[in-house]
Subunit: 352 residues, 2 copies
């Protein structure tokens, strides 16, 4: 699961009284998702592995140290520039494994199909699953298919769960950031969310936009090879870069200062965001990662990232500080400073 | 995933031409599910692990031999006598691991929630997940939550995937049945399907009916401890006992002869089936298993099963033969013989 969206994203809370109902914002990966987890899901499920609170569980089985993760995909529309729900289902899950430093090995694939779905889109999605799995070097080894009545689903929902092999001696956590660390970003932000939105709403923004969906393990492998002091890796999906960094700041009890001018955004994405009143910092990415790294290793790690296809546009975008623990701030292009809060409510539903 | 319902249930086929659309019967666990797998899903996904064609994938990671499985749950209604979607989601997945002889260890839990769902049923389902996981000795270590608009889902859909540790020296397969082997059944059949149906339709059948949902690993562990020559274990879920045995007969190239009088069915279930024109052999179970075992060990294995709470009503219900390969037949209570085919079409949709 993506940053901010998973059961692991928060510490074990006490149950809250009953009330209300599920809203779209509860799936946003922002504050409302966090509240649902804190108040309802975690009180029920709390256990020592879940309490480690990362995007993937690290578990031991038969002497092997494994990463394990799950993600359901309900993206709308099913097909969009740069990929489809099948591509996304493979890449999203292998990326959650990779963010733990684990090499993705095996996937499960479970489909919930709506009665009346033509077979042709299903066939296309399965071809995408296969192609993405091959590209990511993983096998789909087990599966399941359920069918619900017309009007009880929406075409195709996909769940992928994944098993990865932990890298020896590597332990990453959103709780490990320290003042002085640097924040690296592997490339442009907002591409996925804006591609989905423009496809869904039939909007044209004067530029070709495509999802950045990609399997990030090759980049992670190259980064680990440098032996840099990497504290944490996150793929900023639902809730975007802002939500992922807020999580890290909160978990580590540090502040994070971003430099707006250093954050790469495609012109077309920037234009679309301006027209729609969206902040690219909150828009979902599906092929980018954030790394928190010790200051002394930041330059070498950045160079290693830029040597990879998936990190060509990598940038150093900020610094971890001891000031304002739990808070993310940004020096704007105008020289002012502003607070970058977690996503509140529901920016773009069904983005993944 | 349950018998007959999984991607592993059939051998690698060649793609068929496009056509048609998804029908409810494609989720039945019977012939239509098999066709969808054969014609569309397997041609896309085929690989050596998937080709082993069991209810769970057996994989190796970091030197450990693991079982891995996934199942989505769309049961309607969410709550029914004997359990709810949460109970089912835990037991269904741990049972698929147990049918490979593996000890269930870790679960993932992914929710697809419909906008407008009140929080109270979600809270109850999560409490059931926790209770069932505790009872089964597994931990939910990773999770995900998605929300879809009102009318694009149906309350709560749950996916659970699971990792289990393979038992040393144990290799079970639907392809291992041999003429002379015996067929054992751990208890009464049809309880789950009839409990769901009576709850859904508001029917009363003059008897208290409850789902048999239960985690079967303790029974499996006791069975493995006997060192009996167990060829195969299956939990006859969607498609029922008939579909599971047809799969084994086809995969092993053997015939299976059942003795109708030996198959335990609760009176209330039998009465309900008669009123509704259902055959209990095709009705789903969620806490029962079938075992194929070498003749010489059958009596000892049966005794071991009957010593367990989950196997108190275990019976020997049939024999594997060399006659009629791929076919299941049954000597009826009247002394005649009839063919027991795989479930055709769609008996009871959304049973799990």
């Amino acid at each position: 699961m993506g940053a901010g969206a998973g059961f692991e994203a928060l510490s074990c809370p006490t149950p809250a009284p009953a009330g209300d109902a599920i809203l779209l914002g509860h799936g946003s990966g922002g504050k409302m998702s966090a509240e649902l987890l804190q108040r309802l899901l975690l009180p029920a499920l709390c256990n020592p592995v879940l309490d480690r609170l990362e995007d993937q569980a690290m578990v031991e089985a038969g002497g092997a140290r494994l990463a394990f993760t799950t993600d359901s995909f309900v993206v709308k529309p099913l097909f969009f520039p740069g990929g489809d729900i099948g591509t996304l289902a493979v890449n999203g899950t292998v990326n959650d494994l990779a963010m733990g430093g684990a090499k993705p090995l095996f996937l499960s694939l479970a489909l919930i199909l709506e009665e009346g779905l033509p077979l042709e889109p299903l066939r296309r999605v399965m071809a995408s699953v296969r192609a993405a799995a091959d590209a990511a070097g993983v096998s789909v080894v087990t599966g399941d298919t359920k069918v619900v009545e017309r009007g009880s689903g929406d075409g195709i929902f996909v769940n992928t769960s994944g098993i990865g092999l932990a890298a020896e001696g590597v332990e990453l956590s959103a709780a490990y950031a320290r003042p002085g660390d640097r924040v690296l970003l592997s490339g442009t932000i907002g591409d996925h969310g804006i591609a989905i939105l423009s496809q869904r709403e039939g909007l044209e923004f004067g530029g070709a936009m495509a999802s950045d969906t990609a399997a990030l393990y090759p980049l992670v492998e190259a980064m680990l090879r440098t032996r840099a002091a990497i504290r944490c890796l996150r793929d900023p999906t639902r809730g975007g870069v802002a939500s992922s960094l807020n999580e890290i700041a909160a978990r580590s009890g540090v502040g994070i200062e971003l430099d707006e001018s250093a954050i790469p955004v495609h012109d077309a994405v920037r234009g679309a965001c301006e027209m729609l009143g969206l902040d690219p910092l909150y828009v979902a990415n599906e092929g980018k990662l954030l790394a928190i790294v010790g200051r002394e290793d930041a330059a070498a790690l950045l160079a290693a990232m830029r040597a990879q296809r998936l990190g060509l546009e990598a940038r150093m975008i900020g610094t971890v500080t001891g000031a304002h623990p739990g808070m993310v701030t940004m020096r704007t292009a105008l020289g002012t400073s502003r607070i970058v809060d977690m996503l509140a409510g529901d920016q773009l539903p069904r983005i993944c």
